[in-house]
C-alpha cells in the first residue's frame, strides 16, 4: 500500500523509453532541457493519452446515453468502458460506484453537499487533518457554516505526520464524517488510511479519502482500505484535465440526494415531480467530459502497462536520492520528513524566499512549484510563508535531481 513497502527495481524500468512517450519532455525551457518537477500540480501526458483524445474527437464523438444512432452507441460504450477501467484500477465492487466529476475538488464538494447536508446538523462535527489541501477544508467549512456544525482538525507532528492518538480522541459521537488525505500534497506524507478508516468505522463514522496525490504514485485498492468515499483527478496521473473520480460505496450513494439537477441524472421529469436516475447517473447531470473519460482510461492503461508497483519504486528511489542530495546542501531545511512519504520533496532555503528560488531555477529550465500549495494551514504549522516543492513522476531521472541540486547552488551564488 505504501511506497516504502516496495523495493526499488531500477533495472526493470526503462526511464529513457518512458520519456520518449511524453512529447512535452523534449521542450526547451529558457534555453535548457526542461526538467519538469511539478508533477504534484499536474503530470505530463503520454502520447497514448493524447492520441486517445484525438481519436475520440476524430472518430468517436457523439452525446452519450440518449442517441440510438451508431456514434452515440459507440461513444456510450466507450464512456462506460472508462468507468469499468476505473473500477478495476481501484478495485471497487461495482462500476456504478464510480462517479465522474471534474476532479477531486468537485468530488469532495459533491459529498459535502449531498451526504454532508443530509447527515450533518447543528452541533455535529466534521473531522479533517491539519495537512489537508484547501479542497478538503473549504467544502467542509461551507457545510459546517450552513449547518451550525463544527470543523475539527487532527494535528500533525514536526515531521508532518498525523498524530494518530489525537485523531482517535477527536472521533466522537458528534463526528458525522471524516475527510483525510491519502498523501499530503505539501509534505508528501502517506497517511495510514486503512488504520484510520478502521478507527472511524469502529465508531460508525464514514470516511472520505482525498486520493489526488496517492493514485498517481501508489497502488490503491479502495475495498482493501474500506474507504466510504475516495476522490482523485485524472490530470495528476498522466490523464487529461477536467475529469476526476468519486468512488462511493453503493449503499451510501443510493441513499444520498442528488448533487446537481439536469439531463442524464433523471429517470422521468414532469413539472410536478422528477424521479432521479440510478447511481452513478444520478450524480452526473449534464453532458459529461466524454473525451476526458476516454483519456483517463488511456492513462490508466498507460500506468498499468508500466506497473503501479514499478512506478512507486522508481519514484521512491528518486525521492530518497533527492532527499539525501538536498539535505547535504548548506542552509536547506526539508519540510515534511515523515517516515512514509511519496513523490513530494518540500524545502526552504535559509534567507532566500521560495519565490526567488523558483525564478532562479526556472532560468535553468527547472519547473518546481513555489508557494503555499493550497495548504496554508500546513505552512502556518511550520511557521513558513511558502516552500519550494519538487515532485516526481515516473519519467523523472536522477540526472534531473542533479540538475535541481546544481540549480540550488546557483541560487546560493545569486544570493551570496
Amino acid at each position: 500500500m505504501t511506497a516504502t513497502a516496495v523495493m526499488p527495481e531500477k533495472a526493470t524500468l526503462d526511464v529513457e523509453k518512458i520519456r520518449r512517450d511524453f512529447p512535452i519532455l523534449h521542450t526547451q525551457a529558457r534555453g535548457h532541457n526542461l526538467v519538469y518537477l511539478d508533477n504534484a500540480a499536474t503530470s505530463q501526458k503520454p502520447q497514448s493519452v493524447i492520441d486517445a483524445l484525438v481519436r475520440y474527437y476524430e472518430s468517436g464523438n457523439a452525446n452519450i446515453h440518449r442517441g440510438v444512432h451508431y456514434l452515440s452507441e459507440k461513444a456510450t460504450l466507450e464512456f462506460e468502458e472508462g468507468r469499468k477501467a476505473v473500477q478495476r484500477f481501484i478495485n471497487t465492487a461495482d462500476s456504478s460506484e464510480i462517479i465522474f466529476t471534474r476532479g477531486t475538488t468537485e468530488a469532495i464538494n459533491l459529498v459535502a453537499q449531498t451526504y454532508g447536508r443530509a447527515h450533518v446538523g447543528p452541533g455535529d462535527e466534521v473531522l479533517i487533518t491539519a495537512m489537508e489541501h484547501h479542497s478538503n477544508i473549504v467544502p467542509w467549512q461551507i457545510l459546517c457554516e450552513e449547518k451550525g456544525a463544527k470543523l475539527r482538525v487532527a494535528p500533525i507532528n514536526d515531521q508532518g505526520e498525523l498524530i494518530v492518538d489525537e485523531f482517535a480522541k477527536l472521533l466522537s459521537p458528534k463526528t458525522k464524517i471524516v475527510g483525510l488525505s491519502h498523501v499530503s500534497n505539501a509534505l508528501g506524507t502517506v497517511n495510514p488510511v486503512k488504520r484510520l478508516i478502521a478507527m472511524a468505522h469502529a465508531k460508525g463514522i464514514p470516511v472520505l479519502v482525498d486520493g489526488a496525490q496517492a493514485v498517481p504514485h501508489i497502488a490503491v485498492d479502495v475495498r482493501n482500505l474500506d474507504a466510504d468515499f475516495y476522490a482523485f483527478s485524472a490530470h495528476k496521473m498522466y490523464g487529461p484535465t477536467g475529469i476526476g473520480v468519486l468512488y462511493g460505496k453503493k449503499a451510501l450513494l443510493e441513499a444520498m440526494p442528488p448533487y446537481q439537477g439536469g439531463g442524464d441524472m433523471i429517470a422521468s421529469v414532469t413539472f410536478e415531480k422528477t424521479t432521479y436516475n440510478k447511481v452513478p447517473h444520478k450524480f452526473e447531470a449534464g453532458t459529461p467530459d466524454m473525451a476526458g473519460v476516454v483519456g483517463l482510461k488511456a492513462a490508466i492503461e498507460y500506468m498499468q502497462s508500466i506497473g503501479t508497483d514499478k512506478i512507486a519504486a522508481h519514484e521512491h528511489d528518486l525521492l530518497e536520492y533527492a532527499t539525501k542530495k538536498l539535505s547535504a546542501l548548506p542552509g536547506i531545511r526539508v519540510i515534511g520528513t515523515a517516515a512514509d512519504k511519496a513523490s513530494v520533496l518540500s524545502f526552504v532555503i535559509e534567507d532566500v524566499h521560495p519565490h526567488d528560488i523558483g525564478t532562479i531555477l526556472d532560468q535553468e529550465g527547472i519547473a518546481v512549484r513555489t508557494g503555499h500549495h493550497c495548504a496554508q494551514p500546513v505552512m502556518d504549522r511550520f511557521c513558513i510563508p511558502a516552500t519550494v516543492r519538487a515532485s516526481f513522476a515516473v519519467y523523472n531521472t536522477r540526472a534531473e535531481v542533479d540538475a535541481l541540486v546544481a540549480g540550488i547552488r546557483k541560487v546560493r551564488e545569486v544570493f551570496a
Binding site: 534567507d351 524566499h353 519565490h355 532562479i360 532560468q363 508557494g371 503555499h372
Partner: protein
Amino acid sequence: MPELRDLYQEVILEHSKAPRNYKEPAHSNHKAEGYNPLCGDRFTVYLEMDGDTVRDIGFQGAGCAISKASASMMTQTVKGKTKAEAQKIFERFHDLVTGHTHENDEQLQAELGKLAVFSGVSEFPMRVKCATLAWHTLEAALEGKQEKVSTE
C-alpha cells in the same frame, strides 16, 4: 532571453537583505496591509501624514527579495512627497515593471531615479506583483482604506 542579473541587481539584493525604514514610525496615523495570496507575501505600510505630505513612512512584513527591496526603496522615494506625487511615481513605476514603453524613456528613468533598477522585472511577468505589492499597499494607506489589499 532575460538575464537573472537584470532582475536581481545588486541594489535590489542589498535592499532585500537590509531593508530601510523597516519599522512602524512612532507617529504613524495611516496604515494598510497588503497580501499576495499566490506566494504568501504580506506587508504592512505605515504612514505619518502631515496634511497631504508623507512626513514619515515604514513597513514591516515578509516576502521575496523583489517585494522586500521594492518596499524598502519605495519608502525612501516617497518620504517627504505629497500624496499626488507619490501616486504619480507609482504610475511611472508600474509602467516600468510592466514594460509599457514610454514616449520619453529617459524622462521616465529620471523621474524614477533609483527605482529604475526594477526595469528588469518587466522581463519576468510572474514577478510584477512582487514588485508592486508594497506600492498597492501604500496607495491603500494614502487613501485611508481599511480593507486588506490583495494582488488578486
